[in-house]
Symmetry: C2
Subunit: 347 residues, 2 copies
């Protein structure tokens, strides 16, 4: 055998991943043939194809997505934008999209906009080439900006209804009305609504639905907030509710509701005896908090899956303008133990 250096030089193979060229060479065909065999079977002789596939497997070849994207224009990834990865509400969305995306052969690019519409727009433009389409979960964009965006790229908005923007909407406005009816039937007449972020589109639509429904049912609504939609904001919210003299409260989301529960327990206020609480979303934990929360069960995972389905259809269908659609997912009230008969009014 030769000296060590000789051997080393001889066996110095390129450590890089095998390319289509490698496969083609080894199979004794042109690159284009290999390409066709692998990504357009049927357009190539069965025998040749078999050989190419065999070689590809041997070499452990797998196509370079970047290169493919450059020519085909499709990258095989979809961006999922959430305004705060920290919020358990998005867990459901992330799960739902993840699962369906995987089933559809796409990758998920998870992006956190940190509650800023500026960020949202920036990131989207900066990463534009990294995804084929976008799912906007609870966008902070203005209607105008959103509509414009939907015109520029394949997009589906979750929990947001804007003209001309394909969307999946979880019908919480109807849901809060159900909650209201539940409370009214328990004798509550003074009910507080604990608002979420001022920029939240859902927040507004829920409030509007509540006000309208309340007057028809002889109940009075008190609007409180806005509050940050987090656990820790529950303390302030609870105090605010107590201050209004309302006997029940409907919170923007479960996070706030659970936070309220914690604070009320600390203050010695009994739920539901002294105050009834209704949450919204039915997030993880709503069933095992203390007391278990009466809340609106939102089909978040389903919404995520549906959004992906719609987006993929849009991508495959070439985004025919007529295909724009809006799906509405129903919500239902899950009654647990945080609501009960109205407390006697103090005189």
């Amino acid at each position: 055998m030769g000296s060590r250096s000789e051997v080393a030089q001889q066996s110095e193979k390129p450590q890089r991943a095998p390319t289509l060229a490698n496969v083609a060479e080894r199979a004794g065909v042109a690159i284009s043939t290999a390409s066709r065999a692998l990504s357009n079977p049927g357009r190539v002789n069965a025998v040749t194809r078999g050989r190419i596939e065999k070689v590809a497997a041997e070499l452990g070849y797998s196509p370079n997505w970047q290169a493919r994207a450059l020519t085909s224009g499709k990258v095989g990834a979809i961006a999922v934008l959430v305004s705060d990865v920290t919020n358990p509400f998005y867990f459901g969305i992330i799960r739902g999209t993840q699962r369906q995306l995987k089933a559809s052969g796409y990758s998920q690019l998870l992006i956190d906009t940190e509650e800023s519409d500026q960020n949202e727009d920036d990131l989207l433009h900066r990463l534009r080439s990294s995804f084929d389409g976008v799912i906007l979960a609870a966008s902070r964009l203005s209607d105008r900006a959103l509509a414009k965006l939907a015109d520029e790229l394949p997009l589906v908005a979750v929990n947001r209804q804007t003209r001309g923007v394909p969307s999946v909407f979880i019908d919480t406005p109807s849901g809060v009305v159900q909650a209201l009816e539940h409370l009214v039937s328990l004798g509550h007449r003074d009910i507080a609504y604990v608002s979420g972020p001022a920029t939240s589109w859902s927040n507004e639509s829920r409030w509007r639905a509540l006000v309208k429904a309340a007057s028809a049912r002889g109940a009075t609504m008190h609007r409180l907030g806005p509050f940050s939609p987090r656990l820790h904001a529950g303390a302030a919210a609870a105090d605010a509710v107590l201050n209004t003299g309302a006997t029940a409260a409907i919170a923007f989301n479960d996070l706030l509701a659970i936070g309220m529960l914690q604070h009320l327990a600390a203050r010695g206020v009994r739920v539901p005896e002294q105050l009834s609480i209704v949450g919204c979303d039915d997030i993880f934990g709503a069933d095992f908090c203390n007391p278990p929360l009466t809340t609106l069960t939102a089909p978040v995972e389903q919404a995520g899956r549906l959004a992906v389905t719609m987006l993929v259809a849009q991508l495959d269908g070439g985004s025919a303008p007529g295909q724009r659609q809006a799906s509405v997912l129903p919500t239902y009230l899950t009654v647990r133990s945080s609501t009960g008969p109205a407390a006697e009014k103090e005189i």
Copy 2:
């Protein structure tokens, strides 16, 4: 004015995103100069650069990541593999990595391996060209496969210690010993360990640590399971514990522990009076379940951030073999209300 068709044809601009060539042309420089000005400032005349930047801004230019990746070899994305997006434990990891990744200028590719090592390996190879590095959260891979993988691509494993594989390890084995001591000091002598998945590396190391520590402290450990690390498995686990006659149980994770709490409440077993429960991870919800759970607080988000930091260093530093390192993050016991003095033994 001309006819409509004339106008339409004239204004028929390419609807595609502006490219570097467009910028260069409009700024009156060569493409390479534009490239340098934008991604390698300092190597170009300040005035020229200013002009180029201005034009780029006007055109709303943003580089095509795919094309860039093709030449530079870096795609600007890091894959985060979790074995089950559904598990709240990973929320922390996802959050931590997401935040740090964003800070480091990378995108997060979220991948769910669905508890299958086969999937894990496949996906990694198939998507190899779509990321620069990988963070493996609770890999199901064998030590051998993992070590091999770490040799092929930049990688950091979370909660997994394997020779030669850079990792971030959350020291729950020491943690469960703390939990054990806490229980022993409360008078417990018969303690059950509720196992997680048989394939879980952490599960084994915790059990080993417990057995060793128990004998030194005059306590007896009962091993139960394996159980699926989910809420609903808590019912079976709780019954199993009750069956051993143990006065306390340490669960593989909070999900199991909380599931046990629910089932015990349903069965009328009081916690902690009749049975003490300790969880592991301190996931979202551990503080507001009923009763609030005594658990090992694991710095998951920090682990995620740290993993990213290590991976990015590895990528930037050219993956010098000597740079391999393993970080250990401490865990501490958070005592809440699910543990208390040992119940009197029935005779």
